[in-house]
């Protein structure tokens, strides 16, 4: 039976081969544009400071066709994009690289692959959508056109980048299970924004958003602790009162031991490096970045 079957199949194969004989592909003509794109000075700076060392692509040009047309958004300003790229590297990538035991390798292994800049927030009609970290590979930075370089430490970007990077670390090594059990009953996934800063603090949350889910709480403790000055952090504890601040400090210890055991990063060193860098940017000239 098998023999009878294979004979025609062999014949068929011969015909198929024959039928393609006259359809030689032209190997000299690619359907892809393989010419080297022209890079401007900013593109070169990004290549040398983000892409080559860390394999991070910074997309500062908006191609709306790649976003959802239902959202209203505008592109980032070129000058603001340059300032943003410089500042995020200085206050985030370089800070981690300085502190992490294996420096550059830590950033290479854990940084997002794509950073996308948008000029405004994204609006779905009148509802605003802020930046998101998608699956640990892409971070969208919205409202780039609102950046005031020397005030960045007071603007949302500073906290947001450390918040989103915290999520990426958590996606590789999950948050400790016993963090979830500190205030399990206080999370309000859909109504967290009904609490003000004071109410949230009294319940043991460093911000309103921390009260959403344990995962958000964890990265908020991390981000707020390292980006806030000691005075600002103390103000949060004061706002929380005795009971609230005791909870926040317990959470902080969980974050501290997670960073140490999972990532070999000392939280105090990280905080002091970020605080020092926040001061240093005050002496930089953002109108003459040189690229």
């Amino acid at each position: 039976m098998k023999k009878i079957f294979y004979t025609p199949v062999l014949l068929l194969t011969v015909f198929v081969l024959a039928s393609c004989e006259k359809d030689e592909p032209d190997y000299n003509r690619s359907i892809f544009d393989t010419s080297t794109p022209e890079l401007n000075s900013f593109d070169k700076w990004l290549r040398d400071n983000y892409t080559t060392p860390y394999n991070i692509v910074v997309k500062y040009k908006l191609h709306d066709v790649e976003t959802d047309f239902a959202y209203n958004v505008i592109p980032a300003d070129l000058t603001k994009s340059k300032q943003m790229a410089f500042l995020l590297k200085y206050l985030w990538i370089d800070a981690y690289q300085e502190v992490a035991g294996d420096g550059i390798h830590f950033v290479r292994a854990n940084a997002p692959r794509l950073m996308h800049y948008l000029g405004s927030a994204e609006y779905d009609n009148e509802t605003m959508r802020l930046g998101v970290a998608e699956g640990g590979t892409k971070i969208t930075i919205t409202e780039v056109n609102h950046l005031i370089p020397k005030d960045i430490i007071k603007q949302n970007f500073f906290n947001t980048i450390h918040h989103e990077f915290g999520h990426i670390l958590n996606q590789t090594i999950d948050i400790p299970a016993d963090f979830r059990t500190i205030t399990p009953a206080s999370y309000a996934p859909t109504t967290w924004y009904n609490r003000d800063e004071y109410e949230a603090a009294r319940l043991g949350f460093v911000s309103q958003y921390a009260g959403k889910l344990p995962e958000e709480d964890f990265v908020e403790v991390l981000a707020r602790y390292i980006t806030r000055t000691p005075e600002e952090w103390q103000a949060t504890l004061d706002l929380a009162g005795d009971e609230g601040s005791a909870i926040i400090l317990r959470k902080l210890e969980k974050v501290r031991s997670y960073m140490k055991t999972s990532w070999k990063i000392d939280l105090e060193t990280l905080k002091s490096v970020i605080q020092r860098r926040s001061q240093e940017i005050q002496f930089m000239d953002f109108d003459n970045l040189g690229f």
């Binding site: 024959a18 500062y60 505008i74 779905d124």
Partner: protein, 431 residues
């Protein structure tokens, strides 16, 4: 059985060799797209004084059109617009083939993205703005004309080479002059019997006429040119096709061999008539025989917008009140409005004052008065009268404090003399 199937299959394989698929194009698709991109780039950059762009935002074109100017060189585009002709902004543009051959403005350009920024109150509201495009499909391109289609709105946008010997700003000045000479209504009699009315609306006309005995109204959008106005799409009324209107010296329009005669309501004033210094007289109570106070005030137009600012109403506070020009009636509207926010976040409001209950203790809503000319006096005399939208007549304004959301009343503001916080029977005479 399998044998038969195998033979049938091999026949199919033979059939595939039939040489019926002739090449339609002499080059592969990728090469043709590449050539189209290069061709478009050359056409765009060859115009050394740039392009005049008839830009219509929003998918129903309800805001009308705006004159924009594009100039392309290297990777940069320079953009200016009639909104702020003094500004010309440079940003990065790309020509690529993401949806056919496209021009995309990929970094922020204030003059262009003004029409798409969702964070401003112009156009619709926060979240929407003017809902204009900044990514365009090139539908047709030749050195004498380029037709674009907005990716989001699908609006047709026409670009023509801008003449070498004219400045963009001079073109905008001519456009501004034509805009200021527009009248609120035009009428024309067609075929000796069909009366057609063209009523002004923002960025277009409302056209009213009779068709088969029934009243028909439709709205159309236009853009100002240096000669008159041009419709987004030609439209037909009583067998006549209208596409462009040329302004005549007497404010009338000529189009399609017909003359559209400008109609001016009795108390109508053009927007340009209002700016200046006035002597303002007013009362402070709802009684015409009360003490009359006199002030020197100034009306200033806010750029090219419809908004005016009135200063001098409360000299010791140095706060201004906003008024809005309404083209249809040729008057200024004064709505109640917050004018200052205190450190404790409470609002100081210029609040409409109800003549019957003496107070209108709610600073929300578009309630107010309109400021109109008597139609005779020169220099112009203006009177503040009830706007007529609120059930009770509005007799004047007073300073009133509310919480930051305007919903909860705190009370009257009493820290200044009475004539700087209450105004009734207001009249203004141009100095």
């Amino acid at each position: 059985m399998k044998k038969i199937i195998a033979y049938i299959l091999s026949l199919t394989a033979l059939a595939s060799c039939v040489k019926s698929a002739d090449e339609i194009f002499d080059k592969p698709a990728s090469e043709r797209v590449g050539e189209a991109i290069d061709n478009c780039r050359k056409i765009l950059t060859d115009q050394t004084n740039g392009w005049l762009v008839e830009f219509f935002p929003e998918k129903t074109q309800k805001y009308g059109g705006f004159n924009l100017f594009f100039k392309f060189a290297g990777e940069n585009a320079v953009v200016s617009s009639e909104i702020d002709p003094a500004a010309s902004d440079t940003s990065v543009y790309e020509i690529n083939s993401d949806m056919s051959v496209c021009i995309n403005f990929v970094t922020y350009n204030p003059s262009l993205h003004y029409f798409s920024n969702p964070e401003t109150r112009v156009g619709n509201t926060i979240g929407l703005g003017y809902e204009g495009d900044y990514e365009f499909i090139i539908v047709e391109a030749s050195p004498s004309e380029i037709i674009l289609m907005g990716k989001k709105t699908k609006n047709r946008i026409r670009m023509t080479p801008f003449p070498e010997n004219i400045k963009w700003t001079d073109y905008c000045k001519t456009v501004e002059k034509i805009r200021s000479e527009l009248r609120p209504q035009y009428s024309v009699v067609l075929n000796g019997k069909d009366t057609v009315l063209f009523d002004y609306r923002k960025g277009g006309f409302k056209i009213s006429y009779k068709k088969d005995g029934a009243n028909v109204t439709e709205t159309v959008s236009y853009i100002f040119t240096d000669k008159g106005i041009k419709m987004y799409e030609p439209f037909e009324v009583a067998g006549k096709l209208f596409s462009e209107f040329t302004m005549q010296s007497d404010f009338n329009f000529a189009s399609s061999g017909a003359t559209l005669v400008a109609q001016t309501p009795p108390r109508w004033l053009p927007i340009t008539a209002y700016e200046g210094n006035y002597t303002l007289t007013h009362n402070t109570i709802m009684d015409e025989t009360g003490t009359v106070y006199t002030k020197n005030v100034t009306l200033t137009r806010d750029g090219k917008t419809d908004q005016f600012l009135l200063s001098g109403l409360m000299p010791s506070l140095e706060l201004d009140v906003a008024l809005f020009y309404e083209m249809g009636t040729g008057t200024l509207l004064v709505y109640q409005q917050p004018i200052y926010q205190f450190d404790n976040s409470n609002l100081l409001n210029f609040t409409a004052w109800d003549m019957e209950t003496y107070l209108y203790p709610n600073a929300l809503g578009t309630v107010g008065q309109y400021v109109r000319w008597d139609g005779v006096t020169a220099p112009i005399e203006l009177e503040w009268v009830d706007y007529g939208e609120f059930p009770n007549p509005i007799g004047g304004f007073l300073l009133w404090i509310t919480t930051a959301d305007g919903r909860t009343n705190i009370g009257q503001y009493t820290s200044v003399p009475i004539d700087q916080r209450r105004w009734t029977y207001i009249k203004m005479k141009k100095q």
